[in-house]
Symmetry: C3
Subunit: 341 residues, 3 copies
């Protein structure tokens, strides 16, 4: 798509300073932008690049509006307005509606005529596929699955029977939704599977990354709230509940029946133990191991620093003595007290 500075300013409702007639057809970082590129300024470290940029338009905060050589769009939240502008330049591609002849659709499935079902996709019995849904090539949609308006399921994703997906969701390739939860009873050393008869309910505007897995509930459902964003390679175990508008970075694992609040930000490679509760508005930094519930919102972390291997090895060995060292400190303190005249 191509759009002029003037039209873009109008679409975003932002004040333009500079030539409204410049036509934009791409995005670029400040230092690589040419005259038809949209760019943005977020972070003072990029100010030197702003001063030298050749971008056709820069979205930036008011404080720096005077420092760009070319046209600017003044925004209270430049990154957000960049997101909107870039979406205008790069609309989500909508494939032709219709069912590809290489798809396999059960007779009892209800597919909107505006939906697009790709080659090799399989749609199960009684599945309901709403308007403008896109099911990619080779994606598997099980029996009784419901997919809301304008959601996209990418190639080779797998949605097990009965999963409910809201509107405007995006599920990336090889994500697996609704597989059996990991639940077993022990019979004298042998594991006997607990039938996982719950399902997965996914709200509206949820993004689920590539190869992320969300298990169906054991009895009740696993629930992903509206607006939740999940990165790649995340494991969500059975009966987890994730509150609305929480974002979780890649490689994080959440064990069974944990309840994550709304508006949380959870870093990558975090692991959350089962049955815990995480308060709304909590931030957890990357690779934190969460073994206790979090009742108060705030920023939480764990871990020890990376060091050169040789130095680390010494400290690593001492960790085993930590309790003993603490006792020796107490002992020293006592001895000194006793000797105090």
């Amino acid at each position: 798509m191509a759009i002029s500075n003037g039209d873009l300013a109008k679409a975003l409702g932002l004040p333009l300073q500079g030539d409204p007639g410049v036509v934009l057809d791409r995005v670029a970082p400040l230092d690589k932008a040419g005259p038809s590129a949209l760019s943005f300024l977020v972070g003072k470290q990029y100010l030197p690049l702003l001063k030298a940029t050749r971008a056709g338009l820069v979205i930036l905060p008011e404080a720096h509006a005077g420092e760009a050589p070319g046209a600017v769009l003044v925004s209270p939240n430049p990154y957000l307005d960049y997101a909107r502008a870039a979406r205008l330049l790069f609309p989500v591609e909508a494939p032709e509606p219709g069912i590809h002849p290489g798809a396999v659709v059960a007779e009892s499935a209800k597919i909107s005529p505006t939906a697009s079902i790709g080659p090799g996709a399989v749609i199960g019995e009684r599945a309901r596929i709403a308007e403008a849904v896109v099911v990619g090539a080779g994606a598997f949609i099980g029996d009784d699955v419901v997919i809301g308006e304008a959601s996209r399921i990418d190639a080779n994703a797998a949605i097990y029977r009965g999963v409910q997906i809201g509107k405007r969701c995006h599920i990336a390739s090889c994500a697996v939704i609704g597989g059996d939860g990991f639940g077993y009873a022990n019979d004298q050393g042998r594991w006997v599977g607990i039938p996982q008869v719950g399902s997965v309910r996914i709200g509206d505007d949820v993004d689920i990354g590539a190869n992320t897995t969300i298990d169906r509930g054991a009895i009740e459902d696993t629930v992903i709230g509206d607006g939740v964003k999940l990165d790649n390679l995340i494991q969500i175990a059975h009966n987890v509940v994730i509150g609305e508008h929480t974002a979780i970075a890649g490689c994080t694992g959440i064990a069974g029946s944990a309840t994550i609040g709304k508006y949380c930000t959870i870093g990558g490679a975090v692991n959350i133990v089962g049955h815990l509760r995480i308060a709304d508005h909590t931030t957890i930094t990357g690779q934190t191991f969460v073994a206790n519930s979090i009742d108060e919102p705030g920023v939480y972390s764990s871990g020890v620093p990376m060091q050169a291997n040789r130095q680390w090895r010494r400290n690593y060995a001492r960790f085993k003595q930590l309790d003993e060292l603490a006792k020796r400190i107490r002992q020293l303190e006592k001895q000194l007290e006793e000797r105090t005249p």
Copy 2:
């Protein structure tokens, strides 16, 4: 399925207290169960819920048999008997036997007439698919793969050439079994792949979760013992051996040639270094880094506690001084000894 209390008691061989004529058709937690729901009591914290439950039947330990308002089934292992009862209510769905016209099956493959091969599934040369096996939509079964009786391979899983899978296994969607192990020789900085000519042998009653990967062996086979249960997003490297009836939670990684014992319980996000040996009956808690072999069964752990970020940062910084702090304690002790009259 629907089943009466009386029939369920008979099927499980357990003593029923209460109305044998109640008909069950669902499962539910104690506090949400209605008169046609089966429920169970595991854990004293749920006793208050038991007393108020409306469940048609509760499976519980003898000690609490008198505390339920309705019918109960007394069990020495209520969770196990719940698993069995729930399986009776929710039998594994068996699709129609036969090869879907949209599947692609090599002429030399041998498929039992009682097996079900889904649309888009691909079965390689000389593959052998036993009775009652279910191969899901889009699953890939390579040349010379052998799949034992009643095993299920879910949609979009990939089984590379020559992998052997036992009876009653369940392999979830997008699991990948038998990919090349990560083995390279170094040639002046460049990596040259070691042909991975071993395979993967999987015993009976093995469950493998969604997006879990099990690599084929370099020379000999990677081996997964009978009754092993693997959760989602687990990495099993080449030539790992996992003993019978070991259960491993999600996001765990096991490096090459590690040997895991029988009846182990390994938490989520554990990482086990290559070439180690883990004793039978070992328990490893979540996110533990296992850098040494474990010779004695027991419970093993590593890691540091999560804290509010501000507090954690202080302790985190001190970790780099741990060896120095220990030496200063020793120094203080010496000084005090020297001064002791």
Copy 3:
């Protein structure tokens, strides 16, 4: 394949000691090798096995050439020469060229007549598939993807639109290349996706493991250099750059815009924070959390040791006091100084 000792020695350009007429048709470890098996010696711990081996040929360093009972091939790098020899015995299987009738190929795609496109594979508009490329069953190749000569894409992998893949690459099953990066702007608590308009560029001789994910760039491309080897279940976020000939073990995650040097070796389950730089020739051991850039090559680590759970719990609790303990040590030192006559 079968090959004689003499022919193998000639092919590798290495001096043979022993019978050139022995015919090899398999590989085996020293202790399990029979007379038609090739084996190798790497590591002195295997010397006792060497002395008793029945292998038809052993590749080994000169120092131990006299200690084998049978024929040997003397090599300055036995593991590397084993890799080459094993590849001669087990050449990569090349399926028949041609497009399977069950594949779906866009009319505008250009497919070399020597390429092989498997059943159920989908090739998008304007994709370019070079000579001797193998696209496995059910693999998805998006619009405008370019795949260089002799690269192999395994069953059920997904390559999003516009990704460029070099020559002789190998992408394992269910790997996902070019999914959207995890980029959002925040709008009063709600996340608004940043269009991810960059792509992924992959060099020559790159291996990508099963279920590994590599996201497309936000504005510019994510770049994987020549000769990079990625194991299974790795997450590479948007705009990461990985230098040539770096190898990364399974379950590692690299956050957005991190730049990894050339010739690095990164262990399993490592997590690297976004926007960092890692120097060329750096080694990072398993499960290290990399929260700072690494400017000097070397070996880097983090983490605390595994212990029996009971011991670990004590030290774990003390970690929360570490800063306080350090201050008490300082206090003791001061008190002792003050009392020094």
